[in-house]
Amino acid sequence: MSRIYLSESQNRRISAHLESAYPHEGAGFLLGHFVDGYIAATDVVIDDVIPSENSSAEDERHHRFVMTPQAWMRLEDEADRRGLRLVGCFHSHPDAPAIPSAFDREHALPNFLYMIVSVNAGRAGELRSWEISRDNQVEHICAVVSDDEWRKIMKWQTVN
């Protein structure tokens, strides 16, 4: 992955969900596809953002999120039906920076995008996108584009 394209509308949906979860962590899934011919062959366009329930224990939700295996199955099946990929997830770091924590690294999947949003005093702030492993993290550029620009990008040839 090199560049992630997110529309302004999707960005607002992510922010609204994570702000509503505050002071707990909020989370959700990202459905998307790889784009051939736009900037780089490995660019990713986000087609849909799907807010999910944080299933961690009530007294852990201020610093943890967990999504159930059932939520994963539902979303992966939906992605397959729609010809998309389950490319990643998003979650908030309430009153903390949008960088992977040791806990994030410990639980990271390979080839999966982790979008992290810092939510400070209830307001969504910085959004950063990462590929994470136990001993490494690579940041990818997240381009938030207008809805019109996003629709243009969607017309480029896709590769799954």
Binding site: E25, A27, S56, E60, H63, R64, F65, V66, M67, P69, A71, W72, M73, E76, A79, D80, R85, L86, V87, C89, H91, H93, P94, A96, P100, S101, A102, F103, D104, H107, A108, L109, P110, N111, F112, Y114
Partner: protein, 91 residues
């Protein structure tokens, strides 16, 4: 012969294949058959010889941890599914 469905992020280690045919009469044997065919998967599924804590294996709607774990018997034609636990947080 049973079938294992691979989660999207791990399909990079199966040449993009979503479903892999595996041999074996138990979940453990089926997973061994899977990593024999695709050795790069091993480190993502196992910690030594145990399933990593955030790797779940389902048969239908049943998590094998609530059955007999890796010793759970499987029938020919059974479909297994590997599901990662998605977790994280600010620490």
């Amino acid at each position: 012969m049973a079938k294992i469905r691979i989660p999207t992020p791990l399909r990079a280690f199966t040449g993009g294949a979503a479903d892999i045919d595996v041999a074996g009469a138990t979940v453990g044997a089926a997973l061994s058959s899977l990593v024999e065919q695709h050795p790069e998967l091993r480190d993502h599924l196992f910690e030594k010889d145990e399933l990593r804590s955030f790797v779940n294996v389902f048969i239908g709607d049943e998590d094998i941890r609530f059955l007999q774990g890796l010793d759970t018997e499987i029938a020919a034609g059974e479909s297994l599914r590997i599901i990662p636990s998605i977790a994280g947080g600010r620490g």
